[in-house]
Symmetry: C2
Subunit: 221 residues, 2 copies
C-alpha cells in the first residue's frame, strides 16, 4: 500500500499489493502507465517504504533496518536500472559504471577491468570516455544497464531497460539478461511495455490502478 | 554531416544525410541505437547546426538566420518531444504545458484552457497540479507530448514519444498524432524503435552509422 498526498491530492499509487519473489526467478512486470510498477519496484529495491504493509527481504523485515544497514543491503545485493537512467552528468561512462565498485572498495585496477568488461557486454567499449551528454539516448540506457550489472548483484531491478533501444539491441540485452539469470542465478524483476519481451520471463505480473490483476507464466497471462 | 570531437575522439554522428521532408507528411525515423536519429532531428528542428552541408526550412537557409530569428522560427512553427522529456522540474504539469503559450504571449485565461485541453488529450487532466517528480515515467512523457502540441505547431518532431508507454496508451497517442496529421495537416517526424507503429506513417527513414540506408513507404521498407 503506497499513498501520496491527502484529501483532493491523495493518490493511491499502490492500492494493495501482495507478492512473493523467489530466488532465481525472471519476473516481467507490465501494466498501463501510472499503474504502480515503478512504485512497487522502488519498494522491492529498498529505495522506498510502503505507507502500510511490510516488506521482507530474505526473511528480514526491512522496516527493522536503519539507513546504514539498508544502504549496505542495496550495495551488496541489488542492482538497479532506473526508468530515467540517473547517470552522473559530468562523469564518463566508464566512471559511471565503476561507481558501485568504488562503494564496494574494489581496487582501481580491478574496477577498471570489470567496468570495461561490463561496457563491452552492452556494446559500448568504444564510448568509455564519453559523458552522458555525448551519448545517444539508447547508449545512456545501456550505460545504466552496465552499471547495474558490474557489481554482480543477487537481484537486478530493471525499469524499462530497453525503452530506448532498437529491436536488435533489445534482443542483445534480453539475451544478456536471460544468460545471467540462467548461468549465475541472478533474480531479475523487469518492467517492460513490450509484450514480445515477456516470453523471456518465467512469470508475468500485470498491474492496474495500483494492484496486481494477473500473475502467471507468459503464455497464460 | 555532423562531427563531434577530433583525432581519436572523432565521432561522425551523421556521415552524409540528404533528405527532403514535405508539408503534411508523417515520417517515421528508425534505426539502431547511436545511428544518428536524434542528431538529425535536432538539425531539422533548428536546435543544432551541421558541421558541413546546409539546411533549408521552407526555402530559407537556416544558417542565414541569427539566434533571435531562429528562436522565433521554432516558437511559431515547431513542436518538440525530446527523448529525455526536458520538463521543468519544480513546475506543475499544467505550467509546463503552458510554457510555449507564455512565449507566444497568449492571455493567462486562454493559456490555462488550452493547456488543460492538451492534458485531456493525453489522458492527464487529473494530474495537472503534479510536478514531474510526482508523475510516473509514462505520465512525464505524455506531459512532454501535450507541451509540444499545445502551440499547434506546423511541424512536430517527436523523439521516441511512446518509449515509456504501454501498448494501449501508445495506440492512443498514435491515434492522436495521425488525427492531427490528417485533419490539421501537421507535419510529423517521429523516431521510434517499434516497427508496429511505423504503419501509421506515410514514409519510413532507416538510419545506420550516420546515414539513411532506406527511404520509402512502410510496407516496402
Ligand atoms: N556531444 C557528443 N560528443 C560526441 N559524440 C556524440 C555527442 N552526441 C552524440 N554523439 C554520438 O553520436 C552518435 C549519434 O547519436 P544520436 O543521439 O543521434 O543517436 P540515436 O540514433 O538517436 O540513438 P538512440 O536510438 O540510442 O537514441 C552516437 O554514437 C553518439 O555517441
Ligand atoms: N510523489 C508523488 N506524488 C503523487 N503522486 C505520485 C508520486 N509519485 C508517483 N505518483 C503517482 O503514482 C502512480 C503510480 O506511479 P508509478 O511511477 O509507479 O507508475 P508506473 O506504473 O511506473 O507508470 P509508467 O509505466 O508510466 O512508468 C501514478 O499515477 C503517479 O502519478
Ligand atoms: Mg514507471
Ligand atoms: Mg536518440
Amino acid at each position: 500500500m503506497k499513498v501520496y498526498g491527502s484529501g483532493e491530492a491523495r493518490v493511491e499509487a499502490l492500492a494493495g499489493v501482495d507478492v512473493v519473489i523467489e530466488r532465481g526467478q525472471f519476473v516481467m512486470v507490465m501494466g498501463s502507465s501510472g499503474s504502480g510498477k515503478s512504485t512497487c519496484m522502488n519498494i522491492l529495491g529498498c529505495l522506498d517504504t510502503p505507507t502500510e504493509g511490510e516488506y521482507r527481504f530474505a526473511g528480514v523485515d526491512v522496516a527493522s533496518l536503519d539507513r546504514t544497514q539498508l544502504a549496505l543491503l542495496r550495495r551488496n545485493y541489488l542492482g538497479f536500472v532506473f526508468q530515467s537512467f540517473n547517470l552522473l552528468p559530468r562523469t564518463s561512462a566508464l566512471e559511471n559504471v565503476e561507481l558501485p565498485l568504488v562503494y564496494q572498495r574494489v581496487s582501481a585496477r580491478k574496477r577498471r577491468d570489470r567496468a570495461l568488461e561490463a561496457l563491452r557486454e552492452v556494446g559500448l567499449a568504444d564510448r568509455a570516455e564519453h559523458t552522458p551528454a555525448q551519448l545517444s539516448g539508447g547508449q545512456q540506457q545501456r550505460v545504466a544497464i552496465a552499471r547495474a550489472l558490474v557489481s554482480r548483484p543477487a537481484i537486478l531491478f530493471a525499469d524499462e531497460p530497453t525503452g530506448n533501444l532498437d529491436t536488435e539491441r533489445s534482443q542483445e540485452i534480453m539475451h544478456l539478461l536471460t544468460t545471467l539469470n540462467r548461468e549465475r542465478a541472478i533474480t531479475i524483476v523487469m518492467v517492460t511495455h513490450e509484450a514480445e519481451l515477456a516470453v523471456a520471463a518465467s512469470r508475468v505480473l500485470i498491474f492496474r490502478d495500483g494492484r496486481i490483476i494477473a500473475d502467471g507464466p507468459p503464455q497464460q497471462v
